[in-house]
Symmetry: C2
Subunit: 300 residues, 2 copies
């Protein structure tokens, strides 16, 4: 089951995808369910009630007629991992602990939904605005002190995440801070695929494309810390909540192809990486989920 969070005529709604271009609106077939996906996930039987309500229904909304929001527009926390792939550690020359994941937070305002514009900072503010294709894990049933063996039982589903980053600000100081939190700099979608359909995260791959050119491609079996390990780690200090998002880190850049032109402003000198600019289109595709597509626009 693929669930979307959307707006239609200013009203928020949740729907389930029927095919690649249309969905069933829950407001019509299940008016007694809450209006946000986070609230549905807070119910013990939320996803089961959705499944029962949409069973056999035909699509009643077209994706072209609605605005897709981030899969969870209003999570309590968006936890994100830095340096969770060996190739990304090598290309950045940064160091990270082998024992504990490296964790930072993003704010809800830093993300948009599928098809919405991601915003490139003003050139006077920053010049190195980068894609990061990643797997987003969406918590269903919350909990504290979760064992690795039980961790995946707390996952409601998965989505694509473009963990857009402003490198100059990220490098301003030791904590990433604002560099990972420019307004509308990241993207989260297009939908949540439920955990039962997605299966084992490590059997899937992520591909990032900029203007159609493949820039990242990697299997999640190369993650240094697994979804289970990160859920265990976070829950030692914090009760994970329904709708919380864990973004699992990005792989390295692919080696540049024959057409690659190094950029003058590429001060971080990562071969094969291309910064995003207004007018670009960026895609993050994950096998078993689909493709998150966003145009890049200039900051006003």
């Amino acid at each position: 089951m693929r669930l979307i969070s959307y707006r239609l005529n200013g009203e928020m709604g949740v729907g389930t995808m029927v095919d690649e271009s249309s969905a069933v609106a829950l407001t019509k077939v299940a008016p007694d369910l809450p209006r946000t996906l986070k609230q549905i996930l807070e119910l013990d039987d939320g996803l089961e009630r959705v499944r029962a309500a949409v069973d056999g229904r035909i699509a009643d909304i077209a994706l072209d007629d609605i605005t897709l929001d981030p899969v969870i527009p209003d999570p309590h926390a968006i936890w994100a991992l830095a340096l969770n792939f060996q190739m990304h550690i090598q290309e950045t020359s940064l160091t990270t602990s082998a024992e504990h994941p490296q964790i930072f937070l993003r704010t809800p305002a830093s993300q948009v939904g599928h098809g919405q514009s991601m915003v490139c900072p003003r050139p006077k503010v920053a010049k190195t605005y980068d894609y990061e294709g990643e797997l987003a894990v969406i918590i269903g049933r919350g909990g504290r002190y979760i064992d690795e063996a039980d961790a995946l039982d707390h996952v409601a589903g998965y989505a694509c995440y473009n963990e857009g980053s402003v490198r100059e600000f990220q490098n301003h100081n030791r904590q990433f801070g604002l560099g990972k939190n420019f307004e509308n700099s990241g993207s989260f979608g297009p939908w949540m695929v439920t955990a039962d359909e997605f299966g084992n995260p490590s059997s899937h791959t992520v591909t990032t494309r900029l203007n159609g050119v493949e820039k990242q491609h990697c299997g999640f079996d190369e993650m240094l810390f697994s979804v289970e390990q990160v859920i265990r780690y976070l829950s030692t200090g914090y009760s994970l909540r329904s709708g919380d998002v864990i973004v699992m880190g990005t792989p390295g850049a692919l080696p540049p192809g024959p057409d690659y032109v190094p950029e003058a402003q590429d001060s971080d000198r990562i071969l094969g990486r291309t910064h995003m600019k207004a007018g670009d289109v960026v895609e993050v595709e994950i096998s078993g989920i689909g493709t998150l597509v966003n145009p890049i626009i200039a900051s006003d």
Copy 2:
């Protein structure tokens, strides 16, 4: 004017303090105002309407009868500064940029209100749970690209913050992550003093006490980055929102007094710092605001 966020019989409310032990409930004198302080701050004339509504009213709730919540229980973002006082940089031997503030985020779940219990991690999880007395800045009117000259016009008021930190987790990796986000590890209160009454932040001082013993005492004129500078910095990337919180960093530890006993578990070797344990009482007092008091309890 001093505003509180509270709960009474499970209902959220906002009030204004009349004296040290009683308040006027806005639900009664201004039932048309929103029920949360964040929503009141979102109104252009929210604080003026509160002021008019409570003018001349006598107290109708006693602090003893209500539960004080964090001043803003549900901010969109809690931005926090690391290493914003020279004395704290020296005692930690950490480095920080002289040009840009060092910024990280806390989640709403990491904080409690005045009088509520702050939670010490299980000893098997972590042994170094520390107070950090800090100034909390509460945004009134939001905005982007705010000049330093206009920055204080965007501040609704100020409160005390105990930026409770779990050092082992903070030191797990380069990003502070979970170490600054243990559940109920920090505190925010007791109330918001409006900016007009508080005046210039740099004319005030913070004092932290553990079990009545003074552990930190410093003037905000020693902050390396001022409130104005941090508002300008954050707003280059992000539209500050009504109710957002900026926590301005903590000074160093005071030199230990004659009764000081160094702790065996004091692995970070900061002279004069004492870790918090269940049964302790911690206070953060800021001149012009008041004192935020919290008992420490053991994690269940």
